[in-house]
């Protein structure tokens, strides 16, 4: 909460304004109405009303405060996320800084007000005279307040002057004295207010905020937020007022999220295999005992028809295969169906619309009972697989392995065959590499060829795959490695705009190197943040080394720790040393050359002296 002393300037300003104007209206205006013009006092009165309205709006209106981000939004990225994130705005690289208080990357033009302790959209400045931040929502009121106050002061001063000039003889008489006092107050504050008004007129014309002007953000470069003088004025004065973000919202109707869930068609083709033999064996019995199964939402009849067609087709195929491969070794059995099936062209497979697998067991109880069980089982297994491997690639890897484990768990009864073979057939619908469609690849080797080497270690697990046994660190490390693949495309764009989940190190460097032409001042607080980050991370999880690396490595390249001797504390130096010993696999993309190193090191050395001018 604000100190009570913060209310002094606003109280003073309000008191001065109201008192002076009231005195003017009481003591000077009657004479002016009679002797100068009857229109004069009402005009001053209207201007005064306008001043007060704008003053009140500027004081009490929310400037565009961003609510603090939920914990979910930053998760554990707080410590691993880079301090800055670059984004391209109309062709100009703009840096978004991580706000440690509000837990998000500040949008462009947003700044954190240290007085109010919140981030404000299009932050202009914190005005002590209204005891409020001036930001997107209330800038126009502040601007109009300044302009109208200037006008009001001119009116009051000129009215008072006319009065005093007409009554030169008895200056100490009440009316005269009061008028003189009011005039002197006006004159005293007129110069600063006029100066401020002119300053903001220029800012509005140039499309800048006070914060940007004072910190010299666009001194050397182009302001990407300007739309031209007229458009800027139009934007300030006539743009719709954005809503309050911190308002308590009305309760909405509750939504029921009830599984089973729909699946997208392309995904359905790839995951209809039961993977746990235990589940397969036991679940049918339990399903048989409890009837009917819980009803999902109403099925779509179109989807149903499509599914029926697909099922029948798959059933026919599986029956044909079963006859030929029934007595074979499970492994071999897995080979033959897959051999045949992989010859089916991919686009043909994909085009089969296999609808919501989970819905079927309730929507077609009279049809194909074994298939229902299969489908119910696939639901269970799929849900397990989804929970633990949310990545598409890993799912691709796991499903063929699942099919192999399923087939090995066959008991030979007809119901299980029909159960398994549709699943086996549907394994063919996996969006595999074209190279694999030539067949003669057994399931065990399949995942290895299909997926990147990253996933090899999953696929080599013995059957049946237990998804709950995949360790979280493993999954997260897979995600880490995958992320650079995902980030490749955005990196090719001129803007580097990544989600906070990004962990790869060189991108920090790349982001820095691609920042705008004149090297922005590296604030001392950033260094402080880095050093405090390095201190705090040593005791965290196993990922702490990589976490600190993404922050502490931000200003450096490989193999140039010497540059940082002067600017960084020894603890950082030690952690940096540790980072250099990290295996190269944690650096998914090639690092920039060390030519950046000295430049950046010097920049940070210089910048370390300059404190961050946060308003």
């Amino acid at each position: 909460m604000r100190r009570s002393s913060a209310y002094i300037p606003v109280s003073t300003a309000a008191a001065l304004l109201v008192t002076s104007s009231t005195l003017f209206f009481v003591f000077t205006c009657p004479w002016l109405a009679v002797n100068v013009s009857p229109v004069f006092p009402p005009c001053v009165g209207i201007v005064f009303l306008f001043v007060m309205a704008n003053f009140i709006m500027a004081t009490f209106m929310d400037a565009g405060v961003f609510p603090r981000a939920n914990e979910d939004e930053d998760k554990d990225e707080d410590f691993r996320a880079p301090l800055y994130k670059n984004v391209e705005v109309r062709g100009v690289q703009v840096r978004m800084k991580w706000c440690a208080s509000c837990h998000f990357y500040r949008p462009p033009r947003c700044s954190h007000c240290s007085v109010c302790d919140h981030c404000v959209e299009d932050f202009d400045h914190h005005c002590p005279w209204v005891n409020n931040c001036i930001g997107r929502r209330n800038y126009r009121f502040f601007f109009l307040f300044l302009l109208s106050l200037t006008l009001h002061m001119v009116g009051v001063f000129s009215g008072g002057l006319l009065y005093v000039l007409d009554h030169p003889e008895n200056l100490w008489e009440l009316h005269n004295a009061v008028t003189l006092v009011v005039m002197s107050v006006s004159a005293l504050f007129f110069i600063p207010v006029l100066g401020l008004s002119c300053f903001h007129l220029v800012l509005v014309a140039r499309g800048r905020t006070t914060n940007e002007q004072v910190t010299g953000k666009f001194q050397g470069g182009v302001n990407p937020f300007t739309r031209g003088c007229c458009q800027n004025v139009q934007f300030v004065l006539f743009s719709p007022i954005t809503p309050r973000y911190t308002e308590k919202l009305s309760e909405r109707l509750p939504l029921h999220i009830q599984p089973p869930f729909h699946q997208p068609e392309s995904h359905k083709l790839s995951q209809t295999l039961p993977i746990k033999s235990l589940e397969e064996v036991d679940a049918p019995d339990s399903k048989g005992l409890t009837c009917p199964p819980p009803l999902p939402p109403k099925p779509d009849p179109v989807l149903l028809k499509n599914h029926l067609a697909a099922l029948e087709e798959s059933l026919l195929q599986s029956r044909a295969l079963m006859l030929s491969g029934h007595s074979m070794n499970p492994l071999q059995t897995s080979e033959s169906p897959t051999k045949v099936l992989y010859q089916v062209p991919r686009d043909q497979m994909v085009s089969r619309i296999s609808p919501l697998v989970p819905q079927e067991h309730a929507s077609e109880p009279s049809l194909l009972q074994p298939e229902n069980h299969a489908i119910a089982l696939t639901l269970n297994s799929r849900s397990l697989s989804l929970k633990h491997s949310s990545r598409r690639g890993s799912q691709r890897a796991e499903i063929p392995h699942a099919s192999q484990s399923v087939l090995s768990g066959r008991t030979g009864s007809l119901s299980y065959d029909s159960l398994l073979h549709p699943a086996g057939v549907q394994a063919a619908f996996l969006p595999m590499d074209p190279g694999l469609s030539h067949g003669c690849v057994d399931v065990q080797r399949l995942p290895a060829r299909n997926c990147s080497p990253v996933f090899m270690h999953i696929n080599r697990e013995p059957s049946p795959v237990r998804y709950d046994s995949l360790p979280k660190p493993l999954m997260s490390s897979i995600q880490e490695r995958r992320e650079p693949d995902d980030k490749d495309k955005p990196l090719q764009d001129s803007g580097i705009y990544d989600t906070p989940s990004r962990r790869s190190l060189p991108q920090d460097l790349r982001g820095l190197s691609s920042s705008r032409g004149p090297t922005p001042p590296a604030y001392g607080s950033r260094e402080f943040l880095l050093s405090s980050a390095a201190y705090g991370y040593g005791s965290r999880s196993h990922l702490s080394s990589s976490s600190s690396s993404s922050l502490t490595r931000a200003p450096r390249t490989t193999g140039s720790p010497l540059h940082f001797n002067r600017s960084l504390s020894p603890s950082i130096y030690q952690s940096l040393d540790r980072q250099s010993q990290l295996p190269p696999s944690t650096l998914p993309a090639p690092l920039p050359t060390s030519s950046y190193g000295p430049q950046k090191a010097l920049a940070y050395t210089r910048g370390g002296e300059r404190p961050e001018p946060e308003l």
């Binding site: 139009q234 809503p243 919202l249 909405r252 599984p259 849900s383």
Partner: protein, 157 residues
Amino acid sequence: MATEFHNLQELRHSASLANKVFIQRDYTDGTVCKFQTKFPSELDSRIERTLFEDTVKTLNNYYAEAEKIGGQSYLEGCLACLTVYLIFLCIETRYEKVLKKISWYIQEQNEKVYAPRGLLITDPIERGMRVIEISVYEDHGSSGSSSGSSTTSSSGR
């Protein structure tokens, strides 16, 4: 063993929050409210790309309509000045009207498209218009695992 669980409670499908996907703002056109239409990979297995893109594009259109500087915004501005801003107490601005439309649209999308797929969109206004938050729910099925709540309200935090 799964065979021993005959309890309907265990067999009832329940959903619980697994993950949250955040759609960030697209600042390429300045500070206008616009969200990225890039399809997040986490949703690849949950929803069709076209549906998602349609939703985001529609939301972007709504926001563009709300922030449009034109006849109505001029009228509102002048009227506000003339009435000494008392008009804000009486009538609803166009932005507020569009926000209501957006809220209705998101509710509708949630009911028809996202909830059946185990997803839930949070209105960006609740996050300061910085992100579209999509909650991803997982089905725990009859595996006997923890039963999360399957009912959720899309209201604010």
